[in-house]
Amino acid sequence: MTHPPDRPAVSNEGYWRRNLTYVGILLVIWFAISYGAGILFVEPLNRIRLPGTGFPLGFWFAQQGSVYVFVVLIFVYVYLMNRLDREFGVDEEDE
């Protein structure tokens, strides 16, 4: 280990605020796609077809699209947090 694990974490407040911002934004998208497009606005969206397919759009979001978006959201969060960890020097590279 090159750094002692108990090195004072001076900038933890800033780290935590940035983390909360990321989580907040991603959860808004999470809610909008599943509860928004898949449930609350499913009927108006069902009047539109996913182009070139037989899928009513709201139905597609509820049974397909939301799952794909969930996967993307997690990987975006992983990317953002790994970058943030390095920026604030709280990553685990040397453990």
């Binding site: 694990p5 959201l73 947090m81």
Partner: protein
């Protein structure tokens, strides 16, 4: 070769594989038994989590339920995947940093309270037993239908296999068998899905196929299915019968319940680092999504095939699978108008003259996935493969649940509760004995299922949503949250949710309809309200009671950053 011969071969081979993996990976210490020595790679953990999570319900029942409910079935698709976003963003990295063995460990330490620990242990055991009974039942059904052995023998064989690798291998054995089981179950699910998609739509990718054109009629498959539903008096497939508020609350309860289920949460204790915990949630969801995006396609294919095969066809000309399933009691035909033709119709069905038509066919929705290959006339080996896949799904989930029960007894109740002086060896023996005991109880419940297995599933998710989820979230995101708030919040959430479900499912089932429900929320969705109540009470009570001791604030600071994983646990340990 016959279906039975293929099934024996494929199930036998898969069981041999699981046993081989279990012998190779047996556990030698409590750390290996509880959390696989925290040495699991994120990719392997993702696969293991996927197998752990996808139970007999996902593999056998889900596509069938969607097939019968159409759009309303979306609650399971969104509910059982969306929870992983919550896990990745709000729970998994912090719980890994905390570095405990069990969920009650975190609750007990963060809230410096044995009461909180005991409440958590009781919830964990209840939720897990509810679940495991359903898995053993699934094992029994697959055995009795495909291997033509009595349900009891099937359950015994399943118990024997799980006993072998859960008791010997602990988390380490379970993890690597689950990796093997994931491979078996996803292969077994996708092969028939691809066959069906090619057969019906000419597209090899089921996820695209069910939005494509039906080969028989030349119209879009979903349009064709909606038309068929209209003709037969069912609700249109792509729109639902449930109210929007109920769909909303059920989806939320399933999502939050997923994120609060102990057997899922403990999987993220098994990886080496915090960033591995984050990414293994992502891998897990990719592996889960492979099945969950195929399931609605399978549902549409199954529905179309079923309607085309049985509707308005003479009973005497039904294919062999129809009579075989009749033998199990899961399909029944009652020729009410005595014309020898099957009328399979919805509640709104009418003749051209406007007279109502009576439905004559009852089909258990659990058989749709298992019967699908036969209905479509797929080769016999595909049918055997589906049986092996169903068993993999049931056994992998059962093993994960048994580990939660065993660690709740040996670790939370003995080591951290009543017998703190127990040795490492003693704790390991206690863990194995309680895992063994749990297997036997689960087997008993599988052979003699309480009539209310389906009902209590609502309990499992509702209770996980209304108890663990708020307690853990607040423990991480609020430094001010104290013992009093957390305990009262959990107790209020559980009591409210349990009372609502017990009232509508057991005390007054006659009133279980949308008019009597509060705000139109069904018992399946009430966990969401229980969760909100838990949050509200915890936040209010904590403002009027003393703040937690200073070392708790320090602990919360530590779990919020990835660096220094070893240190966090030592503060409390």
């Amino acid at each position: 070769m016959s279906v039975t011969a293929w099934t024996f071969i494929l199930v036998g081979l898969s069981f041999a594989l699981y046993i081989g993996v279990a012998v190779w990976s047996r556990a030698h210490s409590t750390s290996e038994f509880y959390v696989a020595g925290t040495g699991v790679s994120p990719l392997a953990n993702g696969m293991a989590t996927a197998a752990d999570w996808m139970s007999a319900a996902s593999f056998i029942s889900m596509a069938g339920i969607i097939s019968f409910q159409g759009y309303d079935g979306s609650v399971y698709l969104m509910g059982w995947t969306g929870g992983y976003v919550l896990l990745a963003l709000l729970l998994a990295p912090y719980l890994r940093k905390f570095g405990a063995y069990t969920v009650p460990d975190f609750v007990g330490d963060r809230y410096y309270s044995q009461t909180a620990r005991i409440v958590a242990v009781v919830c964990a055991i209840f939720v897990s037993f509810t679940y495991v009974a359903g898995q053993m039942r699934g094992v029994g059904i697959v055995f009795s239908r495909f291997l033509e052995v009595p349900v009891e023998i099937g359950v015994f064989i399943g118990m024997g296999i799980v006993f072998f690798y859960a008791v010997l291998g602990g988390m380490k054995g379970i993890t690597y068998t689950q990796v093997a089981q994931y491979c078996v179950l996803i292969f077994a699910y996708l092969v028939p899905a691809i066959f069906l998609s090619l057969l019906i739509t000419g597209n090899a990718i089921p996820q695209l196929g069910f939005g494509g054109v039906d080969q028989t009629s030349g119209a879009f498959l979903l349009d064709r299915l909606n038309d068929l539903h209209g003709e037969l008096g069912f609700t249109a497939y792509t729109s639902g019968a449930k109210s929007t508020i109920d769909i909303f609350f059920i989806t939320a309860a399933l999502m939050v319940g997923t994120a609060g289920l102990p057997h899922v949460i403990i999987r993220f204790y098994t990886v080496p680092r915090v960033r591995d915990a984050r990414i293994s949630v992502g891998w897990a969801l990719i592996f889960i999504a492979m099945l969950y995006t195929a399931a609605p396609a399978v549902a549409v294919f199954a529905r179309t095939n079923l309607l085309r095969t049985v509707s308005e066809q003479p009973y005497s000309e039904m294919p062999e699978w129809f009579t075989t399933w009749e033998g199990t009691g899961l399909i029944s035909f009652d020729d009410r108008n005595g014309d020898g033709v099957i009328q399979y119709v919805g509640p709104d069905a009418q003749t051209a003259a406007g007279a109502p038509i009576e439905n004559e066919l009852t089909i258990d929705r659990d058989i749709m996935v298992l019967a699908n290959p036969e209905i479509s006339g797929l080769p016999n080996w595909v049918i055997g493969l589906v049986a092996a896949g169903g068993l993999a799904a049931a056994l992998s989930t059962a093993a994960g649940l048994l580990l939660v029960i065993s660690s709740a007894v040996s670790h939370d109740l003995l080591k951290r509760g009543f017998r703190p002086g127990i040795t490492e060896q003693g704790e390991l023996i206690a863990a194995r004995v309680s895992a063994g005991f749990a297997v036997v109880v689960a087997g008993y419940l599988g052979i003699n299922p309480p009539g209310f297995v389906a009902e209590v599933v609502a309990f499992a998710f509702g209770l996980a949503a209304a108890s663990f989820f708020p307690a853990i979230i607040l423990g991480i995101f609020s430094k001010r949250m104290n013992r009093e708030g957390a305990v009262l919040g959990m107790v209020a959430g559980i009591t409210f949710t349990a009372a609502y479900i017990v009232y509508f499912k057991f005390i007054n089932p006659g009133a279980n309809n949308a008019e009597s429900w509060w705000f139109g929320i069904s018992p399946e969705g009430i966990g969401t309200l229980g969760m909100l109540l838990n949050f509200a009470i915890a936040l209010t009570v904590s403002r009027f009671t003393p703040p937690p001791p200073p070392q708790i604030a320090h602990l919360v600071n530590l779990i919020r950053v990835p660096r220094g994983a070893r240190e966090a646990h030592e503060i409390t340990g």
